[in-house]
C-alpha cells in the first residue's frame, strides 16, 4: 500500500479512535458541570409546609451549602437520604443543608417524608424546575457543594459517598 495513503488514513482515523477510546470509561449520563469554581445561580424557593416561608441561596453565604436535588420517584435518593440526614445533624451549626424537590408533588413529598421519618433539612419546591435547569440537573440525585463565598466547588452525580462528602466539607470549613 502506498505509504502516503496509509499515513493519511492513520492521520484521520487515529484522532477518532482516541476520542472514542477516551469516552469508553465515562458514564454517558454524566454531565460535566460548567458551574464548578463559578458563583452558584441564586434562587429563592418555598419551603415544603413552610407556610409561605422561603429559602434564598444568596442568604446562605458565610457557611458552606449542600444542595441535594431529589424526588420521591428516585430510588437512589431514598438510599442516600439517611446519610444526608445524619450529616445535616452533624454539621448543623457549620453547614447549610437544603433539599430541592425536582418534578414532584407536595403530596408525594409529604407522604414520602412521613414514611421515612421526616427530614433534618428543609425541602424546597423547585417551582417550574428553574433551579434544576440553572444547576444543570440531569439524572437524580445530584448534590452540589458550595463554599462560604457562594462558589460551586463540587458536583456529586448519583448517591453521595458519605466519606467523600465529609472530606470535601472539612476542606470547605
Amino acid at each position: 500500500m502506498n505509504k502516503t495513503v496509509l499515513g493519511l488514513g492513520l492521520l484521520l482515523v487515529l484522532p477518532l479512535v482516541w476520542v472514542l477510546g477516551r469516552a469508553f470509561g465515562n458514564d454517558p449520563q454524566y454531565i460535566p458541570s460548567p458551574l464548578l469554581d463559578k458563583p452558584a445561580p441564586t434562587f429563592t424557593l418555598p419551603v415544603l409546609d413552610g407556610d409561605g416561608r422561603t429559602v434564598s441561596l444568596s442568604a446562605l453565604q458565610g457557611k458552606p451549602v449542600v444542595i441535594n436535588f431529589w424526588a420521591t420517584w428516585c430510588d437512589t435518593c431514598g438510599y442516600e437520604h439517611p446519610a444526608l440526614s445524619r450529616l445535616a445533624i452533624a454539621y448543623k451549626e457549620r453547614v447549610h443543608f437544603v433539599g430541592v424537590a425536582y418534578l414532584d408533588s407536595e403530596d408525594n413529598l409529604r407522604k414520602w417524608l412521613s414514611a421515612h421519618g421526616g427530614s433534618h433539612f428543609p425541602t424546597l419546591i423547585d417551582v417550574g424546575t428553574s433551579a434544576a435547569v440553572a444547576f444543570g440537573v440531569g439524572r437524580l440525585p445530584e448534590t452540589y457543594l458550595i463554599d462560604k463565598t457562594g462558589v460551586v466547588r463540587h458536583k456529586v452525580f448519583g448517591a453521595i459517598d458519605p466519606g467523600d462528602l465529609v472530606a470535601r466539607l472539612e476542606k470547605l470549613l
Binding site: V5, L8, L12, L16, P28, Q29, I31, P32, P34, P41, T42, T44, P46, V47, D49, G50, D51, R53, T54, S56, A59, L60, V65, P82, A83, R86, L87, A88, I89, A90, Y91, K92, V95, F97, V98, L103, S114, G117, G118, S119, H120, F121, P122, V127, G128, T129, S130, A131, A132, V133, A134, G136, V137, G138, R139, P162, G163, L165, V166, E170
Partner: protein
C-alpha cells in the same frame, strides 16, 4: 481530620439503627428560612442572561419559536433526543421553561445561553461553530473528500495505460492468423 472521621462514623450509622427525627412539619432546618414574600419565587434569568432582548411572543409566533429552540436543546435524561421531541417529564419541564422565557421576550440565543450556563455545551444538539468544534463540523467533509480521492487515485492506477499493457492490434491479428492457419493444416 479527626472531627471529620467522627462525623463520618455518625453519618454511616450502625447497621439497622434508626435516625431520631423531628416531627414532620417542624424540620430541623439546616438552612435559615425567610418570612413569606420576601423575594420573588424561583430564579431570576436576568442574573444569568440579562434583560430580554426581544419583544414578548404569543400565539403562533411563540409556538414556532418554542419549536425552533426546543429542537436544538438536548434532553439530558434521554440523550439523542431534543427537549421538544422527548416525552420525558424533565424534557417537558425544560420545554415549558423555554416557552416561558420566549414569552417574556428573551431571544433564541439568550434562552440557549441560559441552558448552557447550567449544562454547558452538552445541552446543544448542534455544537457551536467555534474553536475545536470546527473539527466536528469539518471532519465529515474532510473524511468524505479524502475517501473519494483515495478511491479515484486507486482506480486510475489500476486502469491499463493505452498502448502499453495490451498488445498492439497488428501483432494480435498476426498471431491469431498464424494459429488459425496451423489449425487448418
Amino acid at each position: 481530620m479527626i472531627a471529620g472521621l467522627l462525623v463520618l462514623q455518625f453519618a454511616l450509622g450502625a447497621p439497622g439503627e434508626t435516625i431520631e427525627v423531628e416531627p414532620l412539619g417542624v424540620p430541623v432546618t439546616a438552612a435559615p428560612v425567610e418570612p413569606p414574600n420576601s423575594e420573588p419565587i424561583g430564579l431570576d434569568a436576568r442574573k444569568i442572561v440579562g434583560e430580554p432582548a426581544g419583544p414578548p411572543l404569543a400565539g403562533t409566533e411563540l409556538a414556532t419559536a418554542t419549536h425552533r429552540v426546543g429542537t436544538v436543546l438536548r434532553c439530558p435524561t434521554c440523550q439523542g433526543m431534543s427537549v421538544y421531541d422527548s416525552p420525558a417529564d424533565g424534557a417537558r419541564a425544560m420545554r415549558d421553561e423555554v416557552e416561558r422565557m420566549l414569552a417574556v421576550g428573551y431571544s433564541d440565543e439568550q434562552v440557549m445561553d441560559y441552558f448552557r450556563a447550567g449544562y454547558g455545551d452538552f445541552i446543544l444538539l448542534n455544537p457551536r461553530k467555534e474553536g475545536a468544534n470546527w473539527l466536528l463540523w469539518l471532519a465529515p467533509g474532510i473524511l468524505a473528500i479524502a475517501g473519494f480521492s483515495t478511491i479515484v487515485l486507486k482506480f486510475r492506477r489500476k486502469r491499463p495505460e493505452k498502448g502499453v499493457a495490451s498488445p498492439r492490434p497488428s501483432e494480435a491479428d498476426a498471431h491469431r492468423q498464424r494459429v488459425e492457419r496451423e489449425i487448418a493444416e
